[in-house]
Amino acid sequence: MRRRPGIAGLQNAAATRDQFRLVGENVAKVRTDVMKEQLATFRSQLEEFARKHKSDIRKNPIFRQQFHEMCAKVGVDPLASNKGVWAELLGIGDFYYEIGVQIVDICIATRSHNGGLIDLLDLRKLLCQKRKATLESLSEDDCLRAISKLKVLGSGFEVISVGRRKLVRSVPTELNKDHSGILGLAQAEGYVTVEQVEKEFSWSAGRAIDALETLLKEGLAMIDDGHRDGKRRYWFPCVTVSSDTTGSETKS
């Protein structure tokens, strides 16, 4: 391009640059779109293959490994068995194991924001999303059955009822860090209320109640329903003693 002096020349150069950028952006956009489309085909095909050719894939170990790698790279869950008659009647076959693994997977993935306590319905929705299935095709009973198969692995993983809702708890008491949080909160006044816990940690109602009930069962908390505001207070005698130490010492 011939360099032209003056303001017009500068403006011209700027316009050309703009045009180039526009074309570049267009290309990038088209490319991303095409790729997304291809990725979608790739995924759906892989899913179909995982369902249809499961036994063939398993027979050939080298291909099995390659298939897994493909699935992992494009984000397809290779666990996609149909329920089948035998699973329905006798509960055998991989179907319930697969759901079990996926349920635990979801619980682990969501643990950072729900503390290992998830509504069964939410769980089912996420599960259906993972398996690309409709909500009706995967009943609550299927989930419960899959969870009950995990019983052998210890009692930490269970379904509990809070009110009319069913919650799945995936963190056993021994590994639950919520409790230490509540104890820390209780150090201020010696007691906490459900509202206080919810507000402080921005937890769901179920999570706070579950944690407090567990502490009650462990013998660490005591209930006080007699307060004027009518809110149940959970007192922690053990905590008060330690936080009062400084106070009592200054008094004596």
Binding site: F67, E69, V152, L175
Partner: protein, 444 residues
């Protein structure tokens, strides 16, 4: 005899729990316990005895379990494999030279292998247990015929490889058709994606097509993944669906792991034993990340995710864990009184926690009033239930003493160790007892 003796075979590396380390793309095909490898013609080659034989797509690995050492015989060097037979005593001289008189009862698979400087050797795999030798032999022939060692190194690309591949592809196109200006670039771009799309369609015609195109598809997948991940990170305002799919990808990516899962089919009677070793190897890294302790259910999920479609049942997992007691692995299964089962590293279990508990119990405040499980939970940052468990364990070890009152359990540091049985009234000028007394005096 350790496997180190047979130095005429290349050594193979072994994981911490004694499983063979497989190279990229290598897959385990079958296992035979209690196998000898006996050179038939060359007496200077030392035999291998009592090994676990693992047949992979690339090698025959002779694993000596007691010494955790292994030797690998590359299948590439196998010139011919003779079908298994039981040697009868028609050749008395040989049976005298071979190890025991009973070896004539055993199945032998003779292999002719090439050894570049010396020509070739004939060695025999002697199967000294009752195992299905025919199945093994069938798999061996399959593996030799498949020649996986020639193809797979390329099929398992390192993380940087696919990018280079893409660049090479672009250069290729550039040579065929000169790129002229913007339109040239656009055309090139389009062609590259069209060919990818075509490839995709071809590959998913049927299973065989996919198998033969697996390598390319894996590269394509890798390319897409990198592109999407970088795109998503540069466009923070992408919509929910994108975020969801990205999340999916990362979730699953974390969980790919075990290239060659132990299956009932390959391991047969050794299934649970081998599974237990593989699990011990696998669980080490997640355990470290989780701080040394994980619920068994979580491990079940992670392990199965790493195995892909080769799911194991909860019962199998439990059995594999319970086998750890018998072998030397750095992890253990622990059951709490509440019925909760966890997996923890052996180092995590005791020393570190006890050290922290005893330092906690020696604070002036605690010397006087003791510590409750909730105090311990609060300072150690663990759940009260677990803290109580740790305190009771520490008591068992003699570190703490308990005081039971209406307030519940309180634990004090054990001072009885400090007191000299011969001279109980003298207090040492320093040490725990002294510290305790000075605290007690100060508070009065």
């Amino acid at each position: 005899m350790s496997a180190a003796a047979a130095d005429w075979l290349p050594s193979a590396s072994v994981t911490a729990s004694g499983r063979p380390v497989l190279s990229a793309g290598e897959v385990e095909r079958n296992l035979l316990p209690l196998v000898d490898l006996v050179p038939e013609e060359n007496p200077r080659l030392a035999p291998l005895r009592g090994c676990l034989l693992a047949l992979t797509s690339h090698r025959l690995i002779f694993l000596h379990e007691a010494s955790r050492s292994a030797r690998g015989l590359p299948l590439a060097t196998v010139v011919h494999a003779y079908p298994p037979h039981r040697r009868h005593s028609h050749n008395p001289l040989r049976s005298i030279f071979s190890s025991s008189s009973s070896s004539s009862q055993h199945h032998r698979i003779r292999l002719q292998i090439s050894r570049p400087p010396a020509g070739s050797e004939v060695v025999a795999i002697v199967v000294t247990c009752k195992a299905d030798v025919d199945v093994f032999f069938g798999r061996l022939l399959e593996a030799i015929r498949a020649r996986a060692w020639e193809t797979t190194p390329a099929a398992a690309p390192a993380s940087g490889a696919p990018v280079a591949e893409g660049a090479a592809l672009a250069e290729d196109v550039a040579i065929r058709m000169p790129v002229v200006g913007v339109s040239g670039i656009l055309r090139m771009e389009q062609e590259s994606w069209e060919s990818a799309g075509q490839n995709l369609q071809d590959a998913f015609q049927d299973l065989n097509a996919l198998m033969s195109k697996a390598k390319e598809m894996m590269q394509l997948a890798e390319k897409m993944r990198l592109k999407l991940l970088t795109n998503a990170s540069t466009e923070p305002n992408s919509n929910d669906e994108d975020m969801g799919s990205k999340q999916d990808m990362q979730d699953l990516l974390l969980s790919v792991g075990i290239v060659s899962p132990v299956t009932k089919e390959t391991a047969g009677a050794l299934y649970h034993q081998q599974l237990s070793l593989q699990l011990a190897d696998f669980v080490r890294i997640p355990l470290e990340k989780a701080g040394g302790m994980m619920a068994l259910v979580d491990v079940y999920c992670l392990f199965n995710r790493a195995r892909g479609t080769e799911l194991i049942s909860p019962e199998d997992l439990l059995q594999a864990c319970s086998l750890w007691e018998k072998v030397d692995v750095p992890v253990m299964l622990r059951k709490f009184d509440s019925g909760v089962k966890v997996i923890q590293t052996k180092t995590h279990s005791d020393e570190e926690v006890f050290a922290r508990i005893s330092s906690l119990a020696q604070k002036p405040d605690a010397l006087q009033k003791g510590i409750s499980p909730s105090d311990a939970a609060f300072t150690l940052g663990i759940a009260p239930a677990l803290a109580k468990e740790h305190l009771l364990n520490a008591e068992n070890k003699g570190l703490l003493c308990r005081d039971v009152s209406p307030d519940g359990f309180r634990f004090f540091i054990n001072l009885f160790n400090e007191i000299d049985a011969q001279n109980i009234y003298t207090q040492k000028p320093h040490g725990l007892y002294h510290a305790w007394i000075s605290v007690a005096m100060a508070s009065q």
